[in-house]
């Protein structure tokens, strides 16, 4: 097996970590829901964790592993404090929208206005479909009125 012969070939893990980081970056830049923005930040942390462990394997020591332990710790703290702030922001505006706070922007930045945003969703929501259990028996409408006992 080639992997055993070259234990330090970690390009694959580094590429996966980079992709996860970029996904989180794009998410935090584009999405407007505060909760989804924080999920994207956590995704970036996951990409960093994968890269750190890969580097640890490359160098054959445990420094990367120890750093990932601290990443986990700081992520837990960050999530606790950030979610408190998100809840406070929601209590003030009634929305989880980051654009609800655009009165805090710089003076030369133009105000963002949602144009052509339909009131209802244009894409129909996809709900989970449950397989019906059992089969409904075929109803015989002509026999129905002549039934004696209900």
């Amino acid at each position: 097996m080639l992997a055993a012969a070259f234990p330090s070939l970690i390009h694959g893990a580094l590429v996966v970590g980079a992709v996860l980081f970029v996904l989180g970056l794009v998410g935090i830049l584009t999405r407007r829901n505060l909760i989804v923005m924080f999920l994207s930040a956590e995704l970036m942390l996951q990409g960093i964790s994968v890269s750190l462990v890969a580097w640890s394997r490359y160098h054959g020591d445990f420094g990367g592993h120890a750093l990932v332990v601290f990443v986990l710790t700081v992520a837990a703290c960050e999530a606790a404090v950030a979610l408190v702030f998100v809840l406070q922001a929601f209590a003030r505006t009634g929305r989880l929208d980051s654009a609800a706070w655009q009165s805090l922007r710089d003076t030369e930045v133009p105000r963002r206005i949602d144009r052509e945003l339909p009131a209802t969703d244009t894409v129909a929501p996809v709900w989970p479909r449950l397989t019906p259990s059992g089969v409904e028996p075929a109803r015989d409408d002509s026999a129905e009125p002549s039934r004696e006992h209900v």
């Binding site: 970690i10 590429v15 996860l20 980081f21 994207s40 490359y58 992520a75």
Partner: protein, 259 residues
């Protein structure tokens, strides 16, 4: 050492397909009519092409990228991560993030970090994600909010992400197969240990055998002060979160009293 022949174009093509698929999948209402209808299918197709390209590049690269288990858990992590970012419903995004976490935990296990793989599942999926879901259920109004159906500058962000990913991929390709001996800075503890035993086990199986014990020794030896600081940080975050909530409630009741 550079990447083997054909791996770099494959990787860069995958990155381009990934960025284009991400742009198509991101929520938006301002696309042209035909693109609006086909954007999700086209985006999924481009994403699948990017995944296939990455898998092929992994086979060319050799090493870890060639193992089937690694490819499967990497695909789970990437699909989950992409869906987290592009799903409109935040609750579904959180569930997809749980899938991405499962994939990342599998990646950590494959890389030989057993403790971290288990800790990712326990701490992230067990605690942090459930906290996110609690906040969502507390705060999300009924139905899909309008701001979940649009995104800020999806095209620019996808292009920027693609460029950054291409740069990272190219620089990863210049990595040598073995770590250079010049850049290993031994700590004092390592130098002491190196006198007794070889510091770097040549066989990764030996690295995996007592990984948890060695991680514990590393944490409570070299990083003891940092571990204490992390514990202090957790305490401060706990107290701070409670303080912010109680002060916010006090301010609200004061406002109500004034009104």
């Amino acid at each position: 050492m550079t990447l083997p022949d054909g791996a770099t174009p494959l990787l860069l093509g995958s990155v381009a397909a990934f960025a284009a698929g991400l742009w198509l999948l991101l929520p938006s209402v301002q696309r042209a009519g035909w693109l609006e209808r086909w954007s999700s299918r086209l985006g999924v197709a481009l994403g699948a092409a990017a995944l296939a390209g990455l898998a092929l590049a992994g086979r060319r690269l050799g090493g870890l990228g060639e193992e089937a288990v690694f490819q499967i858990v990497a695909a789970v992590a990437l699909v989950g991560g992409t869906a987290t970012v592009v799903t409109r419903s935040p609750v579904y995004a959180a569930i997809w993030f749980a899938l991405a976490l499962t994939g990342v935990a599998g990646l950590l296990l494959v890389l030989g970090a057993q403790f971290l793989g288990v800790a990712t599942i326990v701490v992230y999926a067990g605690a942090i994600l459930v906290m996110f879901l609690f906040v969502l259920m507390l705060a999300q109004p009924t139905g899909l909010a309008p701001y979940d159906r649009v995104s800020n500058e999806p095209l620019l962000s996808a292009v920027a992400g693609g460029v950054l990913l291409a740069l990272l991929t190219v620089s990863i390709g210049r990595l040598s197969a073995e770590p250079p001996a010049c850049c290993q800075v031994p700590s004092r503890a390592d130098a002491v240990a190196a006198a007794a035993a070889p510091a770097r086990p040549a066989d990764p199986a030996a690295l995996d055998a007592d990984a948890v014990a060695r991680l514990g020794a590393e944490l409570f030896g070299r990083h003891l002060v940092a571990v204490e600081a992390a514990g202090l940080l957790l305490l401060v975050a706990l107290v701070g979160a409670i303080a912010v909530v109680s002060r916010g409630e006090a301010a609200e009741s004061a406002e109500r009293g004034a009104a």
